[in-house]
Symmetry: C2
């Protein structure tokens, strides 16, 4: 949990997570989206991986990164439950999402 919040404290790392929201990307793909050296991005990726927010898989020359879906949402949801006085906003959020069930799909 500490590692998750440390990881999220960086704008670069949050942006990486956003990139990985919809697609798996190689380290180079990610680095090319930032004006920053590849080693720096590699470091950011390892911080995200140590936090359990992403996993990497080597295929050939490339290392692909993807999100570990459950960890981020679960960690934040758990934290909110613990620290928020009542969790009213989350409940409101819940109502909305609950209303969606049956329209979208669970997975």
């Amino acid at each position: 949990m500490q590692r998750v919040f440390e990881a999220l404290a960086s704008p670069v790392r949050r942006k990486i997570l956003a990139y990985l929201a919809h697609a798996e990307l190689s380290a180079g793909d990610i680095a090319s989206r930032f004006e920053m050296s590849k080693p720096s991005i590699s470091q950011h990726l390892s911080i995200l991986e140590n936090a359990g927010l992403v996993v990497s898989e080597k295929r050939g020359q490339f290392v692909f990164y993807r999100q570990v879906e459950d960890n981020l949402a679960n960690t934040l949801a758990g934290f909110v439950q613990e620290v928020c006085p009542v969790g009213r906003p989350l409940r409101r959020e819940s109502a909305t999402l609950a209303g969606d069930r049956g329209k979208g799909g669970e997975g």
Copy 2:
């Protein structure tokens, strides 16, 4: 949002938020719960306040702090929506909370 995540990166600050989940406390009340100098706690409190997560109110000699309830949950919920692939865990969370409605109470 950057300030919120920066604020949450510190264990001390998260613990302060937890203390403020159920009660309003003075700066001294909070400081007494940590093995840390009052000025340091004061600094942590100002970081939380600048992030919009708490507000302070001076009454007599004392400065009382309390959570700004909506901001934390809303910020995190918004972030999860943006960055999580599908939001499945949040949906599951939702189902639970939705099931609670009618039993507990909305406020």
